[in-house]
């Protein structure tokens, strides 16, 4: 695994015991720091702001947002697509890298999976909220309706419902299954009875029997195998929301692959945005080493290039199509009233990642952090451009309009960070943020040579 001159994926000198102690102590031994309290309070405040915005939304209707005819979709859909994208890194890391035997995934997969879940939770909010009548969202589900009605299966929105909920459920199970042995460890290491009890219940009485381990490993492997096509399918389906529409700027077959690439791109950006501060705050540099950061950076570079390729293909196709609507849309994106957004996304998503060609940058956490931030912004902007610029000037010039988010749009977007961070803070305090079991194996494997 360890090519000479490469930073190891785990610092030397650790054994099962020390690994176990170091990770569990974050939860069990470490006192509530001011940092955590402050951070959580801030996140929670944002969350409350979102709840306020949502309350008002339910009272008055979606009219409090900036949406209109022709631009009937706005922030809500942009945020949905963006969050779902973020939610891709986790499963990608745990599933695909597992199948590829990338041992460096070990120390970050738990964290990334948690991030995925929370991102999906945020994403899931928006499609519900953006409905004109959110209280009847369940009409999108197949259930025995007194009118004998069914969802309309040809609509990509119905596909979304299934894709996103499947993704949510599978990610949750994947994450939890991985947690079971660690929960057992927590149970056995926690002193206070109530804690033992709670972790005990969550650990389902896991006792590490060889038979269990065999089935466990098989199930985990199969889950990874299932999650792999799933993670690729989710953003493909999301992209079909646009690709199936006839709107110029949406109606394009390149969307699925290029959305998936974009999703993983933004996902890894988010992983870095969070990992870099967290490893610092909890002194996990030994487990989450520069090597991890660098690998994430490499994946960002790769997916970033795919995304760039997507943009270029889009431009080429609209020229090649010789379709007057499509050509107008493209020019309008580049030079129309929303041009700044387009150029910003080009800067963030195409230009910035090029810096990652250089090892110096890939191995400099602070710079990586800011690059990752830029990419997050860029990917949000990309979705904004896709949704808004395509709609605001489509086929009938007489119906052209414009769109701007209102304060309620912004409150909901920023508030969703609150939800995401609150969950993340709780996770860090209550559960082992790194897979202890897998770390034990890792340190053993690393020892073997000696």
């Amino acid at each position: 695994m360890n090519a000479p001159g490469q930073t190891p994926v785990v610092a030397p000198g650790y054994d099962s015991g020390s690994v176990t102690r170091k990770i569990t102590d974050i939860v069990l031994a470490r006192p509530l720091g001011r940092g955590w309290l402050g951070g959580f309070a801030f996140a929670f405040a944002l969350l409350m702001m979102m709840n306020f915005a949502i309350g008002w939304l339910l009272m008055r209707g979606v009219g409090i947002w900036g949406i209109n005819i022709p631009v009937a979709w706005g922030f809500a859909i942009v945020n949905f697509v963006w969050w779902i994208g973020i939610g891709h890194a986790g499963t990608f890391i745990s599933a695909i890298l597992l199948l590829l035997h990338q041992d460096w995934r070990t120390s970050i997969n738990r964290f990334a999976e948690a991030m995925t879940l929370f991102a999906v939770a945020c994403a899931g909010l928006f499609p519900l909220l953006h409905l004109g009548r959110p209280w009847v969202f369940y009409w999108l589900l197949p259930y025995p309706d007194t009118m004998g009605l069914w969802p309309q299966w040809r609509s990509p929105l119905v596909w979304d419902v299934f894709a996103v909920s499947t993704y949510g459920v599978v990610s949750l199970m994947f994450w939890y299954v991985g947690l079971i042995p660690d929960l057992a460890t927590m149970r056995d290491r926690s002193a206070p009875r109530p804690l033992q009890f709670i972790y005990g219940v969550m650990a389902l009485g896991w006792r590490g029997s060889a038979r269990h381990w065999k089935r466990f490993k098989m199930a985990y492997l199969l889950l990874a195998g299932l999650a792999t096509p799933l993670v690729l399918s989710v953003h493909s389906v999301v992209s079909l929301d646009f690709a199936v529409g006839i709107v110029p700027g949406w109606h394009s077959t390149i969307f699925p692959p290029y959305f998936v690439a974009g999703a993983i791109f933004s996902g890894f950006a988010m992983v870095l945005t969070l990992l870099i501060p967290v490893r610092k705050a909890y002194g996990l540099q030994d487990f989450i080493t520069i090597r991890h950061l660098e690998n994430c950076a490499k994946i960002m570079l790769a997916t970033g290039l795919m995304v760039a390729h997507g943009y270029i293909t889009e431009l080429f196709m609209s020229w090649y199509s010789d379709d007057k609507f499509d050509i107008y849309m493209t020019l309008n994106r580049m030079f129309g009233s929303y041009a700044p957004a387009w150029w910003l996304l080009m800067f963030c998503n195409v230009l910035t990642p090029q810096a990652l060609w250089f090892k110096k940058i890939r191995t400099a956490p602070v710079i990586l952090f800011f690059i990752a931030l830029l990419v997050n912004v860029g990917m949000w902007t990309e979705r904004y451009v896709i949704v808004v610029t395509s709609l605001h000037r489509d086929f009938m010039p007489s119906a052209w309009g414009s769109y701007h988010g209102t304060r309620w749009d912004w409150m909901t977007l920023i508030g969703s960070f609150g939800l995401f961070l609150s969950l993340l803070f709780l996770f860090l305090r209550l559960l082992p943020a790194i897979s202890i079991t897998e770390m034990r194996q890792l340190v053993r494997e690393k020892k073997e040579p000696q």
Binding site: W206, F216, M218, L223, S233, E438
Partner: protein
Amino acid sequence: MKPDLYGFMAEFEQPEELLNAARAAHEAGYRKMDAYSPFPVEGAAEAIGFERTRVPLVVLIGGITGAGVAYGMQYYSAVWDYPLNIGGRPLHSWPSFIPITFELTVLFAAVAAVFGMLLMNGLPKPYHPVFNAPAFKLASQTRFFLCLQATDPQFGERTKYFLAGLNPIAVHEVES
């Protein structure tokens, strides 16, 4: 020997020792036994005579069911139960039925995998005799255990010595 004995449990430092002990016990004719470790140990299950798991089969069945249910539901509702003229498209627009079919296949298979695994493992199981073993807490942290159970025909007082012969850290009596 007490009647309410679940078995004898040997405690080891290293997974290799556990493996050897398990193999030895198996050769010695013991069958009713189990090995416990803080992380999966290659070959431990085979060593105690547990060759193959049926998890994959369950997953396969789950997946097939999912596919069937999904496509069936869509076909039935769109073509039979409530046909609607949607934008002049045919009632059986199969390409549009694919995504949901795929998603439900994955969902059912995944659910089957997780719950299949838990059920076959007999989990959740809040109480189990092995937890009575004094040092067993370490089974989820650093130590490796081999437990020969009282229900095995060969089981007896000598079993204790047999285990002791495998130079473990300790041998514990496990009450049931």
